[in-house]
């Protein structure tokens, strides 16, 4: 490829670091044997698995024994939801937020039956309606509550402490999908089951991670007679998961602060393009994730032209999905679903990359609107640019952090210095 590439689509699949690649190699050399047998090679595989669980447990704040590697994220959702629901027999209803991942929502429908899944709405920024949650738990037939830590598309972080309080009062276990947050912000503290996606923090795709609290109960609700681990996960990827998470943890706050600033820059400058809808909570959000939609632009064309310009991005527009349906998250918050661009930054992304992307974005959006003959039919830029600078917002008022938005007309710095934006501590 002649064009140098900038990868801005790291949700669920980041480029592997040198250390991660080396961990895969070492894991394959030391952990190729089935960890469930009786001989030395098997014991060595088991040691690799156990060291990996210990290392991850330290970072997540739980015991290694609470952690189970599973062969994929899909398997994690299937078994946790199905198995915990079955263990709560007699309680038929599963409560999920409107912005959960499709695989989780499907698993809930499969386990409880579509008519027994209560979907709790979110507001325009993606925050769960806590009153509606409390009301849904006011009946005694709920087996599980499933609320994500943070959203993989819009970045909004939920108030899990408040969610957990409501669940505790109702004595209903809380399943937390932390597949978009772990490795990027401190791990959530309030859960009975936690689902994590090592590929989201730089491990290879092909392994999932489940944490269960000591009081969580799981009964087999799957075909194969195996345990929660579905017959076992690849040991080399378990080691890579631990090494990649350690690597992220070592510089978690610095990286988060830097990427938070870069996303702020994207939010501000995208919102300054007329007819662009930047969504999600501008402050209480993941440091590295942002999505926005461009009025009159075709999502597939946007992604394809940005790709041709060297920028890999994702999209939640219907035309970019297999099933030709727009993202349920964008629908849940009432966002524009066409012309959607979804970005997740890995730690290697620099300010120069972001500035290059913004320039390419403006060009591509202009071109698509001009081709559609609607360049003159645009509203003024949206007010999101102001919200990003809104130090008076209640969400950050409790933090000592002072949020200074970088002016959108600042020239890009080539030295890669972090912008002077303080990253609010997230729960």
């Amino acid at each position: 490829m002649g064009v140098s590439r900038v990868y801005l689509d790291s949700g669920g699949s980041a480029p592997p670091s040198r250390r991660t690649s080396e961990a895969v190699r070492a894991g394959l050399a030391e952990g190729w044997a089935d960890p469930e047998r009786l001989h030395a090679e098997s014991r060595r595989s088991r040691q690799v698995l156990e060291s990996s669980r210990s290392a991850i447990g330290e970072i997540l704040g739980c015991h290694a024994e609470q952690l189970t590697f599973v062969p994929s994220l899909t398997v994690a959702f299937d078994r946790v939801i199905g198995g915990m629901h079955r263990a709560r027999r007699g309680r038929d209803r599963i409560v999920v937020s409107a912005v959960e991942r499709d695989a989780l929502t499907h698993a809930a429908r499969f386990a409880a039956g579509e008519e027994n899944v209560t979907v709790i709405p979110v507001d325009a920024e993606g925050h769960l309606d806590l009153d509606a949650l409390a009301a849904a738990l006011d009946v005694p037939d709920v087996s599980l509550v499933c609320v994500q830590h943070a959203n993989q598309e819009i970045g909004t972080v939920q108030d899990l402490a408040a969610v957990a309080d409501i669940c505790t009062v109702a004595r209903v276990p809380l399943v937390v999908d932390a597949t978009a947050s772990i490795g990027h912000v401190p791990a959530p503290e309030h859960w009975d089951a936690l689902i994590a996606n090592p590929a989201d923090w730089g491990a290879p795709a092909g392994i999932g991670l489940v944490a269960l609290s000591p009081r969580a109960r799981v009964l087999p609700a799957w075909p194969d007679g195996q345990g929660l681990d579905a017959g076992g996960a690849p040991v080399p990827f378990a080691l890579a998961s631990a090494v990649a998470l350690q690597e992220r943890a070592e510089s978690l706050e610095d990286t988060a602060r830097r990427l938070y600033g870069l996303v702020d820059r994207v939010r501000t400058e995208a919102a300054a393009i007329p007819g662009v809808d930047v969504v999600g909570d501008p402050l209480v959000r993941l440091p590295h994730v942002v999505t926005f939609s461009c009025l009159y632009a075709d999502g597939e064309a946007l992604v394809t032209r940005l790709d041709a310009a060297g920028y890999a991005v994702g999209s939640g527009s219907a035309c970019t999905s297999d099933v030709l349906e727009p993202s349920r998250v964008l629908a849940a918050i009432g966002a524009l679903t066409h012309g959607n661009v979804r970005i997740a930054l890995h730690p290697g992304v620099t300010e120069a990359h972001v500035d290059g992307f913004l320039a390419a974005l403006r060009e591509v959006v202009d071109a698509l609107r001009s081709e559609a003959g609607v360049s003159a039919d645009l509203p003024a830029a949206s007010p999101v640019a102001d919200a990003a600078a809104g130090v008076a917002q209640e969400d950050v008022a409790s933090h000592p952090a002072q949020v200074e938005a970088r002016p959108s007309d600042a020239s890009p710095s080539d030295d890669g210095e972090a912008p002077s934006i303080t990253w609010p501590a997230l729960g």
């Binding site: 007819g275 809808d277 035309c319 009432g334 524009l336 679903t337």
Partner: protein, 77 residues
């Protein structure tokens, strides 16, 4: 009854229904209504979002006279 323009965007994938809507409202007066006929599920979400972003009002979803698809009605501010 207010003036109501009809944009028949059935068979068009997103973002075409919204593009046709944008073209149709050119020169219409404040208070005018436009009904976008569409069978694209994204249009149900995108026409209200267009109204919000452009400062107009989304009136609601109706059934078109011939019953095919949705009639998504906006009122210009």
């Amino acid at each position: 009854m207010t003036e109501r323009a009809i944009v028949d965007a059935r068979g068009m994938p997103c973002p075409r229904p919204v593009i046709e809507l944008a073209k149709a409202v050119r020169g219409l007066s404040p208070g005018a209504e436009v009904a976008v006929l569409s069978d694209d599920p994204a249009a149900r979400l995108d026409v209200p979002a267009w109204a919000r972003m452009t400062g107009n009002a989304f009136v609601g979803v109706e059934s078109p006279d011939d019953g095919e698809g949705d009639a998504l009605v906006v009122r210009l501010a």
